[in-house]
């Protein structure tokens, strides 16, 4: 199995855990077509929680505006990959 595939898989699972904790939802819910809505679940506290957790877990400092623009987990994952 490709090394990058494994790293991506681990990163994705950790990201699901981080987003689920920030949004106070089950990991299963975070895994399935989660929509990040700034007027609902994707508020400043959720954003800051995700930024702090990603910094702690991956040592990656995400830009708040770029993260706020994400509307799905896959967009956050792409942002993570771009910044790693």
């Amino acid at each position: 199995m490709n090394k990058f595939f494994i790293i991506g898989f681990i990163m994705e699972n950790k990201l699901i855990e981080i987003v689920a904790e920030a949004l106070e939802i089950d990991q299963d819910m975070a895994r399935n077509d989660l929509v990040l809505d700034p007027e609902d679940n994707w508020d400043s506290i959720a954003l800051l929680s995700v930024i702090a957790s990603i910094d702690e877990e991956f040592d990656i400092q995400l830009d708040g505006d770029e993260l706020a623009a994400c509307r799905s987990l896959s967009q956050i994952l792409n942002l993570l990959k771009d910044n790693s």
Partner: protein, 195 residues
């Protein structure tokens, strides 16, 4: 479901605060009436097609109308959470912002650790600290990272729960209010509104 309420925040009535519950979807006819009310108001924007945007602005317009406040003479600051929204109406020359959050909202351990490392008054919880910084972001149009540099928040002990933060020697005052299980933070450069 509680009705929206509008209260005067300052003695001179220059600032009013509206609390309202975010209702689930209204009927088609209610939405049509919301649409036209908001369309012909200063709130008209491309976001008029987003339900929550439409609903909150229509409620604000209705409450202002009931209180005889002309929307064209004021400015509005809004904060949403999952269940409620809070709006401040103020004279255009007052620099003011609001942010609020449910009292029991959890934050991640990583964020708690980050906030623990920042110097702040002990009376300010992590959630309150975030609320306060959010109001500073709205007032100063600066990002979180630049705001956190050299940030010093002082609790003014003689004034019962008012905090002072200086930005390049310009003071910003902040105060917290409790409403329906939420903590509401209001920050302004005008101390008089909190008296």
């Amino acid at each position: 479901m509680s009705k929206p309420t509008l209260k005067s925040l300052s003695k001179d009535h220059s600032v009013s605060i509206i609390f309202a519950e975010r209702r689930p979807d209204d009927s088609f006819f209610v939405n049509i009436s919301y649409f036209f009310e908001v369309l012909f108001s200063p709130f008209a924007s491309i976001r008029i097609f987003e339900y929550r945007f439409l609903q909150s602005r229509a409620i604000i317009l209705k409450e202002l109308k009931k209180a005889n406040i002309n929307i064209f003479n004021i400015k509005i600051s809004i904060s949403h959470n999952k269940n409620f929204f809070v709006a401040l109406s103020s004279k255009k020359n007052i620099n003011i912002a609001v942010d609020h959050e449910l009292r029991g909202r959890n934050i991640s351990n990583a964020l708690e650790k980050k906030i623990d490392g920042i110097k702040k008054p002990e009376s300010l919880s992590s959630i309150e600290f975030i609320n306060m910084i959010e109001t500073f972001v709205k007032i100063t149009n600066k990002g979180w990272q630049s705001l956190l540099m050299n940030l010093e928040i002082i609790e003014i002990s003689k004034m019962g729960g008012i905090y002072l933060t200086n930005f390049n020697s310009d003071p910003i005052y902040s105060k917290f209010y409790g409403y329906n299980g939420s903590r509401v933070c209001i920050s302004s450069d005008n101390l008089e509104i909190f008296k």
